[in-house]
């Protein structure tokens, strides 16, 4: 194909280079339009159009040759190019063939795989997938079933919880509910759950309420097991702290409720709703002690429950120090609860105290009979002991209250006793009460308990003991052990039940050791205790003539007491018993006791000196005057001060005017001597009294002893003088004396007749006194003091009589001496007084006559016991010198008003 026209410019192996260059030139000259695709370009038309004009042959020829030439070059060129690409084309073809073969192989493989797969699917896939699908379905159903079961269980939660609660399985109940709630929350997608959840919440609320009510019941009776369960349940709820707050509230209301419950049964109309205070006021006084007891018992149960709660907490305290945040929080909460519990003790006690005080304030405590009052005090005392165990509180509030109530009670009680004493005194017959000569206050039943303190042999130890007993109101160690026994869960007893016992003694109540005198003083005392200390040999007073004061041994032994004396002593015993139970007001009690004495003392003085018809200045010692003044101040103070007492009115039934009974001398003796006896009894009590008051208060007692008790014997003088001064009729005696001539020259040998007259009177007096001694056992002291009063009266009578002598000679002076010597010799015999007292008074007066002038002046100046009248008479008879007489008289007259 080398001859083929190759396109110009292309492969022209068979041509020469010149040719090629010419060819190339030709190629280049070809119009580009000819290279356009044939569809768009019509070469023939183009040439025709571009034929040279005018059409001449040459031009056409030239054109023709040119076009021919161009055609040859292009054809050659094309040929050349085609030959050139031929190998490539062949190679590509081979390649195509190769690919085609591979494709058909692949197709075969695919066909085979499909066939195999088809077989596989037929044989395996379908059945397995069914199984898998079933399994999956089953699993779905299972989960649905589970949900359903859950729903079912959720629905039954309520019942189960109720059952748990009834079994007191609080923890389990709460647990169940909480789990239920959790499950419900996890299954929110179910519509029915929403409903259930609210119901669960309700159940939870209700259960909490139940728990709360159980919690409330804890207040009345703490049960460790129940509380443990509750605590666990609250722990689970996470409300331990809140529950404790709640519990405290419950305790508060339990105190309230218990108080109300305790009082209610004692009200007459429990229909109305009343405040506690109002209720207290409507409790009848007669029921108050029982009511108080009930109140204390009820409140004690609450206190006990709280106490157990606190001790449970202390026992179960297991705070383990930990760094864990959660634990720290827990510990903080625990610490908080601990503090709360501690504070709660005081708070509850204060609540209780307030209730009891409220009750007491409106209970009319001071109107109670003594026994009841003591019982009330005992209850309160026990309550304070309980409080000390409970919270270590000294119950100052209650103690103060007890003290003020006691003081007002004892004052009220005392007022009653004083009124009674007044009555006793006004009705007293002043007869000697027949008691044994050895009688003293220890023989009285009321002093039975005090005997060991009064016994001088044992006083040291026993007083020391009472002192410690009495001065501390705090319960002893034994007491606290004893009380704390009641603070255990096991016992349902209360420390107050002792008061329910009818036979309980006050000592039991106050925990005072009973006086076991059987061991030490068992000899003859039991008889005495039965108040058989009265003389047995004196069944009838017709035999009393044995008691003539002639036998001195009998004289000394006599004891003169009146019925009123005994009653005062018995009252003292009562007072002292009160003070045993109220050591803190001992002094007040003793002061009141002393008031009894004062009143008795004052009454005797009032009754038996009202008819004293001689001037009294030398009959009353200054101390006696002070005492009487002091007492009369306390008695006669007008009504504004209710502490004072009405003066007893002088009894009209006593025969004080008859000469035959020496103007009531026997009554006077009984009166005065009974005061003296009473004073002795008070003195006997003195050491004991000192032991029950505080050190600084002893002075008061000593003052009373030294200035009142020690003075009572002084009462004899004015009282006995009342009778003594009537022994001799002063008027007739003075008249008789005035008839004596004192200006005789010689000393007479015979005494004057008035002396005999006086002696006769004295003899009559002695006889009558003897009669009295058959009624009253007179001891020597009494007789002596009576006689000394007689003597005192006589010496004054004599001085008076002698001073009436306007003229007196030495002989007359001698007669005076003779007269009074004679009188005193006789008096000494009759009275058995040796020497007869007060003789000096007349002796000095008569002998002053013999004094020289300056000594007489001293006498006149110094002797105040003689009246001016006496002294003037002395001066006028003694001084012969007129100037001296006037000078001395002037001195006497100026004595009263010293310039």
């Amino acid at each position: 194909m080398e001859n083929r026209h190759a396109p110009p410019g292309v492969n022209s192996r068979s041509q020469t280079a010149a040719q090629s260059a010419a060819d190339l030139e030709v190629l280049r000259e070809i119009d580009h339009v000819y290279f356009s695709p044939t569809s768009e370009f019509d070469a023939a038309r183009y040439v025709l159009e571009h034929a040279p004009s005018p059409p001449d042959c040459v031009a056409i020829e030239a054109m023709f040759s040119k076009l021919k030439r161009q055609q040859q070059v292009v054809s050659g060129k094309a040929l050349h190019l085609i030959s050139q690409q031929r190998d490539n084309c062949d190679r590509e073809f081979a390649e195509i063939q190769n690919i085609r073969a591979q494709l058909s192989d692949t197709l075969d493989t695919c066909k085979k795989a499909r066939e195999r797969l088809k077989t596989a699917s037929n044989h395996l896939t379908i059945s397995t997938f069914v199984i898998l699908a079933n399994v999956r379905k089953r699993q779905i159903i299972k989960s649905v079933l589970k949900s359903l079961q859950l729903l079912q269980s959720l629905r039954s939660v309520e019942n189960d919880v109720a059952e748990f609660l009834s079994k007191k399985e609080y923890y389990e109940a709460i647990d169940l509910i909480l789990k239920g709630k959790k499950a419900a929350a996890a299954h929110k997608e179910f519509t029915c759950i929403a409903d259930l959840a609210t119901r669960l919440q309700d159940t939870l609320d209700m259960t909490e309420e139940r728990l709360d009510s159980v919690l409330a019941s804890i207040c009345y009776n703490f049960d460790e097991n129940v509380f443990k369960k509750l605590k666990k349940a609250y722990d689970l709820l996470g409300k331990t702290q809140a529950a404790m707050e709640q519990l405290h509230m419950h305790y508060s209301s339990a105190v309230n409720e218990s108080a109300l419950e305790a009082i209610k049964p004692y009200l007459n109309n429990n229909s109305m709703e009343m405040k506690f205070q109002e209720m207290c006021q409507t409790v009848p006084t007669t029921k108050a002690p029982l009511c108080l007891l009930n109140l204390c018992e009820k409140l004690f149960l609450v206190m006990k429950s709280y106490y157990l709660l606190v001790s449970w907490h202390t026992k179960n305290e297991d705070t383990v120090p930990s760094s864990n945040v959660f634990d720290i929080e827990k510990n903080v909460s625990r610490e908080y609860i601990k503090q709360k519990l501690k504070a709660g003790l005081i708070r509850i006690w204060n609540d209780v105290q307030a209730k009891v005080s409220t009750f007491l304030k409106s209970s009319g405590l001071e109107e109670f009979p003594f026994e009841k009052f003591i019982q009330m005090l005992g209850i309160l005392r026990k309550l304070t002991q309980v409080a000390e165990i409970f919270c270590g509180d000294k119950s100052d509030l209650l103690q103060d209250f007890i003290k003020t109530q006691s003081v007002s009670y004892i004052k009220n009680y005392h007022r009653g006793r004083m009124e009674e004493l007044k009555l006793f005194l006004e009705n007293e017959g002043w007869e000697q009460c027949p008691v044994k000569s050895t009688f003293n206050l220890q023989n009285l039943q009321e002093f039975k308990q005090f005997r060991k303190y009064l016994n001088p042999f044992k006083s040291d130890t026993s007083i020391a003991k009472t002192q410690s007993d009495a001065t501390s109101s705090a319960p002893s160690q034994d007491d606290s052990v004893y009380i704390s026994k009641y603070f255990t869960q096991k016992t349902s007893r209360t420390p107050f039940e002792i008061f329910r016992n009818e036979n309980v003694t006050n000592d039991d109540i106050f925990g005072i050791e009973p006086e076991s005198d059987a061991s030490d003083e068992s000899d003859d005392e039991p008889d005495e205790l039965r108040r058989d200390f009265v003389e047995d040999d004196r069944h009838d007073y017709t035999t009393t003539n044995d008691y003539i004061p002639t036998s001195p041994s009998k004289l000394k032994e006599s004891v003169i007491v009146t019925n009123t004396t005994l009653s005062v002593l018995r009252n003292c015993g009562q007072y002292l018993q009160i003070s045993r139970y109220l050591p803190q007001i001992s002094l007040e009690v003793i002061m009141l006791m002393n008031q009894l004495f004062d009143y008795y003392f004052y009454a005797v003085h009032l009754f038996f000196t009202s008819d004293l018809d001689v001037a009294s200045s030398t009959l009353y010692t200054s101390k006696l005057n002070l005492v009487l003044k002091r007492i009369s101040n306390s008695i006669n103070v007008s009504t504004e001060d209710n502490a004072s007492f009405e003066c007893p009115s002088i009894p009209q039934h006593l025969d004080m005017d008859s000469e035959a009974n020496l103007h009531g001398l026997s009554e006077r003796i009984v009166g005065v001597e009974s005061v003296i006896f009473l004073a002795k009894q008070y003195e006997l009590l003195h050491p004991y009294l000192e032991s029950i008051v505080a050190q600084h208060q002893r002075m008061i007692l000593e003052h009373f002893r030294d200035n009142t008790l020690a003075v009572v014997a002084d009462l004899r003088m004015p009282v006995y003088m009342c009778s003594a001064s009537k022994a001799v009729d002063a008027r007739s005696a003075l008249i008789a004396m005035s008839q004596v001539r004192w200006d005789v020259k010689n000393v007479a040998v015979e005494h004057s007749p008035y002396v005999d007259m006086i002696i006769r009177k004295i003899q009559v007096f002695a006889l009558r006194l003897e009669n009295i001694s058959s009624k009253v056992t007179l001891n020597l002291e009494v007789i002596n003091s009576i006689w000394s009063m007689v003597s005192k009266f006589i010496v004054h009578l004599l001085v008076e009589g002698f001073s009436n002598a306007t003229k007196c000679s030495n002989g007359g002076r001698g007669l005076m001496q003779l007269d009074y010597r004679q009188l005193f010799v006789k008096l000494e015999k009759i009275s058995r007084l040796k020497p007869v007292p007060f003789q000096d008074y007349v002796d000095r007066y008569v002998k002053a006559y013999y004094l020289p002038r300056n000594e007489l002046e001293c006498f006149v100046k110094e002797k105040t016991e003689y009246s001016n009248k006496h002294l003037l008479a002395l001066v006028s008879s003694a001084c012969e010198n007129k100037r001296d007489r006037q000078a001395l008289s002037a001195i006497v007259e100026n004595k009263d008003n010293p310039a």
Binding site: P369, E371, N412, R415, G416, E420, L423, F424, N427, E428, G429, W430, E431, Q432, C433, P434, V435, Q445, R530, R531, D532, V534, E535, R538, H539, D540, Y541, T562, N563, L566, S567, S610, D611, L612, D613, V614, A615, S616, S617, T618, L619, C647, S649, I650, Q652, H653, M721, S725, A730, R731, L734, K775, K792, F793, H796, L797, E800, S867
Partner: protein, 214 residues
């Protein structure tokens, strides 16, 4: 202690030892019965305000010792008593036999108009009774006494005894048979009445102007 009453009656409780006089009184004024009480020494005292026919009356009761040896002491309390309980023990013939002596004392020493009620005490001890109700009634009738049997232990007829006696006194005042104004009647007007018995006299006698200066 404001106590207001219209009349005050002085009462006696008399009778032989051990007949239960103190027990009667104690029961009446509200104390507990004690099985073995001691003999009374001298006299003891109790008072109570009671209401008789709308009039509150204070009884001032003197409980006397029954033992013979206290006669001299107790007799001084008889004076001016308005009423008396004469007590014997139904289980003791002796105490019954002694009644006429007691009665004589009461009538002579106290006011002659004294209203006396005979009380046969210890009624609870029926099994050891020695004095029949009939013979005691007869004695009461013969001596113009009222009569009751009582038991201080059980409290039976205790209050009645005092009440009955007081009622009789009050009735006698109202009929004019008793005059409260008479000294020694044993009756006084109380704080509740406007009339008062003479105010306590100030009987402080001034020392007479006796010539002697003691």
């Amino acid at each position: 202690m404001s106590e207001s009453y219209e009349y005050l009656f002085k009462f006696l409780v008399i009778g032989s030892a051990g007949t239960g006089k103190s027990s009667l009184l104690n029961n009446f004024i509200g104390n507990k019965f004690k099985e073995d009480r001691c003999h009374t020494i001298g006299v003891e005292f109790g008072s109570k305000i009671i209401n008789i026919g709308g009039k509150s009356t204070k009884l001032q009761i003197w409980d006397t010792a029954g033992q013979e040896r206290f006669r001299s002491v107790t007799r001084s309390y008889y004076r001016g008593a308005a009423g008396a309980l004469l007590v014997y023990d139904i289980t003791s013939r002796d105490s019954f036999n002694a009644l006429s002596n007691w009665l004589r004392d009461a009538r002579t020493l106290a006011s002659p108009n004294i209203v006396i009620l005979l009380v046969g005490n210890k009624k609870d001890l029926e099994e050891s009774r020695e004095v029949t109700f009939t013979e005691a009634s007869q004695f009461a009738q013969d001596n113009e006494l009222m009569f009751l049997e009582s038991s201080a232990k059980s409290g039976e007829n205790v209050e009645e005894a005092f009440l009955k006696c007081s009622k009789t006194i009050l009735a006698k005042i109202e009929t004019g048979e008793l005059d409260p104004e008479r000294i020694g009647s044993g009756i006084q007007y109380g704080t509740g009445t406007s009339k008062r018995l003479s105010a306590p006299k100030k009987t402080v006698r001034a020392p007479s102007d006796c010539a002697c200066h003691v």
